[in-house]
């Protein structure tokens, strides 16, 4: 089971990285979102025990580690904000550069 979890998380990361290396900026944005999903899973997997119950004080069984969950919450919010910002940038880029090809967004170089 752990292997499946690890491999799927790895796959999500790989898919995310592959996507951010695409020329289509929308695909790259999707890559960012994939990566942030992957990160959430990863952080969660860094918790210290296999929880049998949700992290509530009423739980009678072993609860899942609450701290990584709190970290994931924060990470989710931050990446959501960033993600919206990226799409704003993409919109402006598309009107200014008349392209969605990230290789053509290369006014800044050298």
């Amino acid at each position: 089971m752990n292997l499946i979890t690890a491999l799927v998380i790895g796959t999500l990361f790989a898919a995310g990285i592959y996507q951010i290396l695409r020329r289509n900026v929308i695909r790259a944005a999707i890559g960012l979102a994939l990566i942030s999903n992957a990160i959430n899973l990863y952080l969660f997997s860094m918790g210290t025990y296999n929880g049998l119950a949700a992290a509530y004080t009423t739980a009678t069984e072993q609860i899942s580690d609450p701290l990584p969950q709190a970290l994931v919450l924060t990470a989710i919010v931050i990446s959501a904000g960033g993600f919206a910002f990226v799409l704003g940038l993409l919109y402006v880029l598309s009107t200014r550069y008349k392209t969605s090809d990230s290789d053509e967004i290369n006014g800044l170089k050298h």
């Binding site: 210290t48 009423t58 609450p66 701290l67």
Partner: protein, 967 residues
């Protein structure tokens, strides 16, 4: 405190700087300013002289001011014979040069237009300031009492000479020359710094005394060759030794007063001073001897030879300076008394005649408008005074009796023939000296002949000129006369002799006897001198042929090409470096990803495979479900890649998010699952808005752009190894479960008693780690503000109305038509009902977030998505009109303010910053069970407000396509 007198000369010159600016205010002319300002160096000269007389018997004056006590570094000044010799030259000639400057830039008496030098009637503030600055730096170099102080002033000379050389900056030659000199001497400066650091490191102190006393330590150190090379390189670049001499001729684009000062008397001597100063500490080794004499002799010859090829007076003089500097370096190489005697005499003699000659050349230029020997001639009658001055100085340069130069040459030859020199040098030294002497004499003769005696080169346009005003010729006359006086005085000037002996002693490290008698009987030096003079005379006799031959056949010996190549090489490297920055962010990301994985491997982040346990496949029960959601997740994630349409890819992403939520719920982590759902939907909506905003054509084109098969393989590889690395780490962490968490049990135990929360995650988010959350919502809020700013201001085209203005001018535009969704009463009703429901849901999330999933963030997002529904159904403008309270920026501001105040209230109540406070209990309010009016609740409200504001800012700005673009 007699030592502190050493500060005075420096302070005097510093004082001169503001005076320059004051003088401009007063509207003084240049000559008057020259007179006035020259008193500062002159006073410094006398103070130095006085200070010298104060020297306790044979001991230097040493002034020290702690500078960086923590490193044991001081600002220190030091006066001994050697320092005094250089200091007096600097201030003495400096005073003359300042005076000369005033007349040089005088426009009240214009004679002729000069070769490109601009003349302004206003005060040349900049020049005076630069020259004083330079004088300060130079004086500092020679008066410095330790390596660091010296280095500081040393760099000062580089900078101020850069400014002086580049003074006529409109002239490209001036700019190039200035850059070249700075490049070369600056490079030398860095070497010197490194070298002196070695020395300080070894001896433990930068003071000259300590350094000199550390001779054994230094010369025996295995690092000796390293720091020797560094220091000597620094000195050589400054003193224009071959092949670093190339900057000196080009520095002649400086105004003549600067050349006279920098390139004859002072700056180029800084290297000489340094070598002389360090001779007792570093000298006497074989390395020292061979390197210094080698470079010195080559430079001597090269300078003499190159000078003979020149037609312009200033380069001619400059090359002869190069030659002379070579001589001085070669002298320092020797470890004999006579050599150091020759050294000090040569330094003084050269300073006197060369400054006179430079200033004279400047006058010639000023009066006739040219410095080219091919246009000059016959000026003897028009300019008798200048003729006299030039002749005396030139004779001294040529080393003819009865001038001081003769004495210099005699002692030089004496040291060249000094027994005990190593075999090769003992024949090479006299030979080169004679040859160089002859060439220098030839140059001197050509100068006097070509300018004053020969018939004008072009009889139809003879040069016109007359002697300038006395103030102008006085500055060169004084050193010229001194050259003569010291030579012909029947009584040996004992003071001068002792002074020079004292100087030589400081450089030599032992007592040196100096006599200034011209006539020392018939001896080898005299004979060699006669040979040199005859050779020079012969060369002069054959001057036309010789110069023709020199011009046509013999090489320029210039290493400018080397310099050019160096610069070109640097530029090439620089261009190459910047071209690595190719502008394609994908390349950047790829490089970073690969580097990151390499770093991971390098640091050993992967577990050894032997340590990995064999996988356990317990896929029953919840695990089976988990596996199922994981598989869906992976399939959907990979489909985002393989699906052709962007929209479908986005939908697949939505599926990924939902399956993550399911997984989280199974884990079980309901809080995270909830936020995951909320954010997944927000993300999907935002992405759809993004798709909406970017023209379909563009996206389709970007999708059709084929990635090469190789490129895709490479990207898969990068992605693959990256994924593998993370998977390995994850697997390790999972296999190590259960592990000890130091903090989580505490949260589990204390959530209820200390914060009143059943939801431990919620308690961590708002109580235990509240400040994370505060900043997190600030990030979210700033993202909203950023998008708002971008769409309302930053991305607006010039002349485009702001969306706020559009809002006010456009009529409410409700889309009409049978098939338009916004007209559907069904959706109207749904939207209308959703908003209050969202409010209620949000309210309960905030109120009971401590006991159940949901918090201010989910509340905020839910409400803003309900508002988004209004935007969709009623249209943006109608929504804004209907929901008057929806001021997004104010919501963000209010939320953040509330969050901060809430945190601060804890301080005010003595509980601590961000501490949980239950106001409900404190005020004994009757509240519904499960709800506590606490700091946590207020924080949730703050979060909700911020998120609401920010999310609506995001949604509406991204969602609202400009009318024109949609048309």
């Amino acid at each position: 405190m007699t030592e502190s007198i050493l500060l005075l000369p420096l302070l005097l010159i510093v004082l001169g700087l503001p005076v320059v600016f004051l003088l401009r205010r007063m509207g003084l002319t240049n000559p008057k300013a020259g007179w006035l300002l020259s008193t500062f160096p002159l006073a410094a000269f006398f103070i130095l002289l006085y200070a010298y007389t104060l020297l306790p018997h044979g001991k230097p004056l040493f002034f020290r001011l702690p500078w960086i006590p923590s490193l044991g570094l001081n600002f220190s000044l030091y006066l001994d014979g050697l320092a005094a010799l250089f200091g007096l030259i600097i201030t003495g000639i400096g005073a003359l040069v300042v005076l000369y400057t005033g007349y040089y830039f005088d426009d009240a008496h214009p004679t002729r237009p000069t070769s490109g030098e601009t003349h302004k009637s206003s005060l040349e503030v900049r020049f005076f300031a630069y020259i004083l600055l330079f004088m300060l730096a130079m004086l500092g170099v020679v008066l410095a009492g330790d390596f660091i102080t010296m280095f500081i002033f040393w760099e000062g000379t580089s900078i101020s000479s850069f400014l002086l050389i580049g003074y006529k900056y409109k002239d490209e030659a001036a700019r190039k020359g200035a850059f070249k000199s700075l490049f070369i001497t600056g490079g030398g400066g860095i070497a010197l710094l490194a070298g002196c650091l070695f020395v300080i490191h070894l001896t433990g102190s930068a003071d000259w005394n300590t350094v000199i006393a550390g001779r054994e330590l230094l010369t025996n150190s295995p690092l000796y060759p390293a720091f020797f090379t560094l220091i000597v390189f620094g000195a050589f670049t400054k003193s224009a030794q071959f092949p670093a001499h190339i900057w000196l001729p080009e520095a002649m684009s400086a105004p003549t007063p600067a050349s006279a000062f920098l390139h004859s008397a002072t700056m180029v001597k800084a290297g000489i001073y340094l070598l002389a100063r360090l001779n007792p500490a570093l000298g006497g080794t074989d390395l020292w001897f061979w390197v210094l004499s080698g470079f010195g002799l080559i430079t001597m010859l090269a300078g003499a030879y190159l000078g003979s090829k020149q037609n312009d007076l200033k380069p001619l003089l400059a090359y002869s300076t190069v030659s002379q500097l070579g001589v001085l370096v070669a002298l320092i190489a020797q470890q004999s008394e006579i050599a150091f005697k020759a050294l000090v005499i040569s330094i003084l003699a050269h300073a006197l005649y060369k400054s006179a000659l430079f200033m004279a050349a400047g006058i010639i230029d000023h009066e006739t408008g040219t410095r080219d020997l091919r246009q000059l001639g016959g000026l003897r009658k028009q300019m008798p005074i200048l003729f006299a001055i030039t002749s005396i100085a030139a004779l001294s340069m040529a080393g003819l009796p009865p001038l001081f130069g003769f004495l210099a040459k005699e002692t030089l030859l004496a040291s060249a023939t000094h027994p005990g020199l190593p075999p090769i040098i003992d024949s090479l030294f006299p030979l080169t000296t004679v040859l160089a002497g002859a060439l220098i004499l030839f140059q001197a003769a050509i100068l006097v002949w070509g300018v004053f005696l020969a018939p004008p080169a072009d009889p139809k346009h003879p040069p016109h000129g007359h002697d300038p005003r006395p103030g102008f010729w006085l500055p060169p006359a004084i050193p010229a006369l001194l050259s003569l006086l010291i030579g012909i005085t029947p009584i040996e000037p004992a003071f001068l002799a002792n002074f020079l002996a004292d100087s030589a002693k400081a450089a030599y490290g032992a007592k040196v006897k100096v006599s200034l008698a011209l006539w020392t009987g018939i001896n080898v030096p005299l004979l060699l001198s006669i040979v040199a003079v005859s050779l020079g005379a012969a060369l002069f006799w054959q001057r036309n042929r010789l110069r023709a031959a020199l011009m046509t056949f013999l090489p320029d010996l210039t290493v400018n090409r080397l310099y050019d190549w160096t610069l070109r090489g640097l530029d090439w490297l620089a261009k190459t470096a910047t071209h690595l920055q190719g502008g394609q962010v994908r390349v950047y990301l790829r490089v970073i990803a690969i580097s990151a994985v390499s770093l991971y491997l390098l640091l050993g982040g992967f577990p050894p495979l032997s340590l990995l346990p064999s996988p356990q496949w317990n896929l029953h029960g919840l695990n089976g479900l988990r596996a199922f959601s994981l598989v869906i997740m992976a399939v959907a994630a990979l489909s985002t890649i393989f699906l052709r349409r962007d929209l479908f890819s986005v939908l697949a992403l939505g599926v990924v998010g939902l399956s993550v939520a399911v997984w989280m719920a199974l884990e079980p982590a309901p809080d995270v699952a909830l936020v995951q759902v909320v954010v997944d939907i927000l993300t999907t909506v935002i992405l759809i808005l993004g798709l909406n905003a970017i023209p379909r054509k563009q996206r389709d084109r970007a999708n059709e752009l084929l990635h090469s098969r190789r490129g895709m393989t490479r990207d898969w590889f990068v992605a693959g190894i990256f994924g593998l690395a993370v998977a390995l780490t994850t697997f390790t962490a999972l296999e190590l479960r259960p592990r000890e968490s130091l903090v989580s049990p505490y949260y589990a135990e204390n959530a209820k008693p200390m914060t009143g929360a059943k939801d431990i995650v919620g308690a961590i988010v708002v109580d235990f780690r509240g400040s994370d959350t505060l900043i997190e919502i600030m990030v979210f809020g700033m993202a909203g503000v950023a998008i708002y700013t971008l769409f309302h201001f930053g991305a607006r085209k010039p002349g485009e109305a702001s969306t706020q203005e559009t809002l006010q001018t456009l009529p409410a535009r409700m889309p009409r038509g049978i098939y338009a969704l916004p007209t559907s009463p069904l959706l109207h009703t749904l939207a209308y009902v959703m908003l209050p429901l969202a409010f209620l849901l949000g309210a309960t999330h905030m109120m009971y977030g401590h006991d159940q999933p949901g918090d201010g963030f989910t509340a905020g997002v839910i409400i803003s998505l309900a508002i988004a529904m209004w935007y969709i159904v009623f249209g943006y403008q109608e929504t804004r009109r209907k929901l008057t309270w929806l001021n997004r920026n104010n919501l963000v501001a209010t939320g953040l303010t509330l969050a901060l105040l809430n945190a601060l209230l804890g301080v005010a109540l003595g509980e601590g910053f961000f501490a949980p406070v239950n106001y409900g209990d404190r005020l004994s309010l009757p509240l519904p069970p499960g709800f506590s009016l606490s700091s946590a609740f207020l924080f949730e409200v703050a979060i909700c407000l911020t998120v609401m504001g920010a999310a609506t800012l995001m949604i509406d700005n991204l969602g609202r396509i400009r009318e024109d673009e949609n048309a």
